[in-house]
C-alpha cells in the first residue's frame, strides 16, 4: 500500500461512513454528560435504535414506506428510554452508574426481542431498505472531496447539518451555557431560578434520542441488516470518545474522525497486506485509543457534577 492510498478518496469516504454513527451517538452522550449525567447505557441505546429502525423499516418497507420512518421510530424509542433514565437518575436519584449498566443489559435484550418479534424466523432473505446515496450536484464532482463528502445518504447530510450547529450552540449560546452550568454547579443554576431538573431531563432525553438515531444508522444507511454486535461495540466507542474529547467539541470531533479513519484503514490493510494476520489489524482502533487515553489522562477535566444527583435540600 503506497503513501497516496492512505488518503485515497475511497478510504476517506469509508472513514466518513464509519465516523457518522460515532458522531451522532457521541454527540448525544456529550449533551447528556455536559448536563451532569453519565449514561453507561449508551451502547444498549445504540443497539435498540438499530433494532427499532430495522424492524420498523422492514415491516413498513413492504408498503413502500421510506426508511426515514425507521429513523423516526428509533428517535421515539430513544425519547421513551430517555424519560425512563431521567426519571431514575434525576427524580429517584438512583446512582447513575447502576442505572446505566442496568439500562444497557435491559436494552441489549430488548433490542433482540423487538427484532425477533417484528421479523421472526423466515426462510426468505431479509431485505431492509436502506437510504440511497445522494450526490450533491456540482460538488460531487470535486476531486476526492466530492466522493468523500458530497456523495452521502440523507442521514449523513442531516447529521452534519443539524449536529454541527448544535455543538456550536452548546458552547456559544446562553442555552448551552445553562446546560454546562448544570453539569458544573447545579446549585448555582438553581439559585438563579432556573429549573435544574428540567434541564437535566431535556439533556438526557435528547442524548438518548441521538443515541438511538445513531444506532439506526447501521441497518438503514450502512449495512442493510440488524447486527447487534457491531452496534454495541460502536456504542461503547462513542462513550469513550466523549472522554477522549475532554467534553469539548473540537477534540471530540477529532476523535470521531480518527476512529472513523482507523476503522476504514484497518479493513484496507487487511486486504492489501496479506503477510500480516488480519487479527492484528482488528486491534488497531483499540490500541490507538489506549495510547491516546493514557496520553490525555492528565488533561481530562470532566464536568464537576458528573455522576452526582442534584438534591436541592442537601447541605454541601
Amino acid at each position: 500500500m503506497d503513501a497516496g492510498q492512505f488518503f485515497s478518496a475511497n478510504l476517506l469516504r469509508g472513514a466518513v461512513l464509519a465516523a457518522t454513527p460515532l458522531f451522532v451517538a457521541g454527540t448525544g452522550e456529550l449533551i447528556t454528560e455536559l448536563g451532569g449525567t453519565l449514561n453507561l447505557g449508551l451502547a444498549g441505546l445504540v443497539v435498540t435504535g438499530a433494532s427499532v429502525g430495522a424492524t420498523v423499516t422492514y415491516v413498513l418497507g413492504n408498503a413502500g414506506i421510506d426508511p426515514l420512518w425507521g429513523i423516526l421510530a428509533a428517535a421515539a424509542a430513544g425519547c421513551l428510554l430517555g424519560l425512563l433514565i431521567s426519571y431514575a437518575t434525576v427524580t429517584l436519584k438512583i446512582h447513575q452508574v447502576t442505572i446505566g449498566l442496568t439500562i444497557f443489559i435491559l436494552t441489549s435484550g430488548l433490542a433482540d426481542l423487538i427484532y425477533r418479534i417484528g421479523i421472526g424466523v423466515t426462510s426468505t432473505s431479509i431485505h431492509i431498505e436502506t437510504l440511497p446515496n445522494l450526490r450533491v450536484p456540482g460538488l460531487a464532482t470535486i476531486p476526492i472531496l466530492g466522493r468523500v463528502l458530497f456523495t452521502q445518504t440523507l442521514y449523513g447530510y442531516l447529521a452534519v447539518a443539524l449536529l454541527m450547529p448544535l455543538l456550536w450552540l452548546l458552547f456559544r449560546t446562553n442555552g448551552g451555557l445553562r446546560l454546562r452550568a448544570v453539569g458544573e454547579n447545579p446549585r448555582a443554576v438553581d439559585s438563579l431560578g432556573m429549573n435544574v431538573f428540567r434541564i437535566r431531563y431535556v439533556s438526557i432525553v435528547a442524548g438518548c434520542m441521538l443515541a438511538c438515531v445513531g444506532g439506526a444508522y447501521f441497518p438503514l444507511a450502512f449495512t442493510g441488516s440488524y447486527d447487534p454486535t457491531s452496534a454495541i461495540g460502536q456504542g461503547w466507542i462513542a462513550l469513550m470518545l466523549v472522554i477522549f474529547g475532554r467534553w469539548r467539541p473540537i477534540p471530540f470531533l477529532l476523535g470521531v474522525g480518527l476512529f472513523g479513519y482507523i476503522g476504514a484503514l484497518q479493513s484496507q490493510l487487511m486486504v492489501t497486506v496479506q503477510s500480516v494476520p488480519p487479527d492484528l489489524f482488528l486491534m488497531l482502533p483499540y490500541v490507538l485509543a489506549m495510547v491516546v487515553l493514557v496520553a490525555t489522562y492528565g488533561r481530562a477535566v470532566q464536568p464537576a457534577s458528573l455522576v452526582k444527583p442534584y438534591e436541592r435540600e442537601a447541605r454541601y
Binding site: 475511497n10 469509508g14 464509519a18 453507561l40 451502547a43 441489549s108 435484550g109 433482540d112 427484532y115 425477533r116 421479523i119 424466523v121 423466515t122 426462510s123 426468505t124 432473505s125 431479509i126 431485505h127 431492509i128 436502506t130 446515496n133 447501521f218 450502512f222 449495512t223 442493510g224 441488516s225 447486527d227 447487534p228 454486535t229 457491531s230 454495541i232 461495540g233 460502536q234 456504542g235 461503547w236 466507542i237 462513550l239 469513550m240 472522554i243 477522549f244 476504514a264 484497518q266 479493513s267 484496507q268 487487511m270 486486504v271 492489501t272 496479506q274 488480519p278 487479527d279 482488528l282 482502533p285 483499540y286 489506549m290 487515553l293 489522562y297 492528565g298 481530562a300 477535566v301 470532566q302
Partner: protein, 371 residues
C-alpha cells in the same frame, strides 16, 4: 474525578473491543472470537480410524437405520441468530427436522461465542439434554471438552478434516466439506470477473474456511488462469459492518466478483457492492439469496444439515455414539441468476464434476496459498 474519567474510558474501550472482536457482552450470548480446531491439517479427505466410522453422505456405524426410539433431548448451540437466512437458519431448520423425525425434545441457544460455548453446553446438560450439537466449526474445542467431561452426553461437532485422531467415544464429527462446492463457486467468480479480480471473503480463519478459500481461489484460476485473485478474513462471520468495510476495501482494490463465505455479515457485502455503483456479481452459501440482491447475486450451494443431524441422532439413539459424517454429497447448487445460459451450463458442469469426484479438489487447511 479524573480517575473516574479514566476508568470509565478504559472500561468502555475494553467493552467496545470485546464486543467488536466478538467475545464481549451481547444480547443473548456472545459472538465468537478466533479459535483453532485441533484437527490435523491434511490434504486428504477424512481419516478412517479403528474407533470411528467414516462415510460419505451418510453416517455409518449402525447396521441399519433402525427405528428411532425418540424422546432424546437434543440441544443446539448456534453462533448467530436463527433468522439470518444463512448458516444459523439452516442449523435451526435441521434441529426442527430432528424434532419431527426423531421425536426428540429440542432446544437451542443463539449467538453463542467460543468463550461461552462450554458453559452453555453444560447448562443444557444439567437440564437433562443428552445430545448437544455445536453448530459451527469454531465450537469444536467446546464439543471435545464436553465429550471428555461427561460420558453420558454425546456431542456433535464440526471440522474440516472429518474424524479426529483419538476422537472421544461420545463425539460425532460432521465434516464440513466446503471445498468442492467452494471450488465451483470460485470457478463461477473467476468466469464472471471479466478479466478483473475475483475475491473470496470470509469471517474467521479456521481450517474449514481456509480450505474453502484455497478451493475457491483454485476454482477462480481454473476458470481463467489470468484472473487476479484475492482473499480476506474479516474476523467475524456475523459482523455486517466489518463485512461492508472489507468488501468496500476489496472493491477499491479492484475486485470485480466475490465468493462470500459469511453468515450475518452478508448484507454488509451486498451494501458495499450497491454503494460502489458497479456491477459486481457475487456468490454465497447455505441459502438462495436472490431476494437479498436480485441485481448481483448469482447463486451458491446449500448443505443438507437436516439429513446429517437426523441421521446422526438416529445413530446415537441406536447406540452408535461416535463417528464421522461427511457432508460432501449432501450439497446442492441453487438456481443461478444473472448469468448467460453458457455460463450457467459451465458452472453447473463444474459443480457436477467436483461432486462426482471427476475433478479432484485438494483439502488444504493449514494456510491460504494463493495459486
Amino acid at each position: 474525578m479524573r480517575k473516574l474519567a479514566m476508568v470509565a474510558g478504559l472500561v468502555s474501550l475494553s467493552l467496545a473491543a470485546a464486543c467488536s472482536s466478538g467475545s464481549g457482552v451481547k444480547a443473548s450470548g456472545t459472538s465468537g472470537s478466533t479459535s483453532s480446531t485441533t484437527g490435523p491439517s491434511s490434504s486428504s479427505n477424512g481419516v478412517a480410524s479403528p474407533q470411528v466410522s467414516v462415510a460419505s453422505g451418510s453416517a455409518s456405524g449402525a447396521s441399519s437405520p433402525a427405528t428411532a426410539t425418540g424422546g432424546t433431548k437434543v440441544a443446539m448451540l448456534l453462533t448467530g441468530a436463527i433468522n439470518d437466512d444463512d448458516w444459523n437458519y439452516v442449523g435451526y431448520q435441521a434441529l426442527q427436522q430432528v424434532k419431527s423425525q426423531d421425536h426428540a425434545e429440542t432446544s437451542y441457544n443463539e449467538n453463542v461465542g467460543v468463550a461461552d460455548a462450554t458453559e452453555k453446553a453444560n447448562q443444557f446438560v444439567s437440564d437433562g439434554y443428552k445430545v448437544v450439537i455445536f453448530h459451527g466449526s469454531e465450537l469444536l474445542n467446546s464439543a471435545e471438552k464436553l465429550a471428555m467431561a461427561d460420558s453420558d452426553v454425546t456431542a456433535i461437532g464440526q471440522d474440516a478434516t472429518g474424524a479426529l485422531p483419538n476422537q472421544a467415544k461420545n463425539l460425532w464429527i460432521v465434516q464440513l466439506t466446503f471445498y468442492p462446492g467452494e471450488y465451483a463457486l470460485g470457478y463461477a467468480a473467476g468466469l464472471l470477473a471479466n478479466g478483473g479480480k475475483a475475491c473470496f471473503i470470509s469471517g474467521l480463519s479456521v481450517p474449514s474456511t481456509i480450505s474453502a478459500a484455497n478451493a475457491a481461489l483454485r476454482g477462480m484460476k481454473a476458470a481463467n488462469p489470468s484472473v487476479q485473485v484475492a482473499y480476506t478474513f474479516t474476523g467475524d462471520f456475523d459482523d455486517a459492518t466489518k463485512g461492508r468495510q472489507a468488501a468496500a476495501s476489496m472493491i477499491n482494490d479492484g475486485c470485480t466478483s466475490f465468493v462470500v463465505h459469511l453468515n450475518g455479515a452478508v448484507p454488509g457485502v451486498v451494501q458495499a457492492i450497491k454503494d460502489s455503483g458497479k456491477d459486481i456479481p457475487w456468490l454465497g452459501l447455505y441459502t438462495d439469496k436472490h431476494g437479498m440482491d436480485a441485481s448481483h447475486y448469482v447463486g451458491g450451494f446449500e448443505f443438507n444439515f437436516s439429513k446429517a443431524y437426523t441421521s446422526i441422532v438416529s445413530n446415537i439413539e441406536n447406540g452408535t455414539r461416535t463417528g464421522s459424517y461427511n457432508l460432501g454429497s449432501d450439497i446442492s447448487l441453487t438456481p443461478l441468476y444473472n448469468v448467460t445460459s453458457a455460463q450457467n451450463s459451465a458452472i453447473t458442469k463444474v459443480f457436477a464434476a467436483v461432486q462426482s469426484g471427476a475433478t479432484k479438489v485438494p483439502n488444504l487447511t493449514s494456510n491460504v496459498q494463493v495459486p
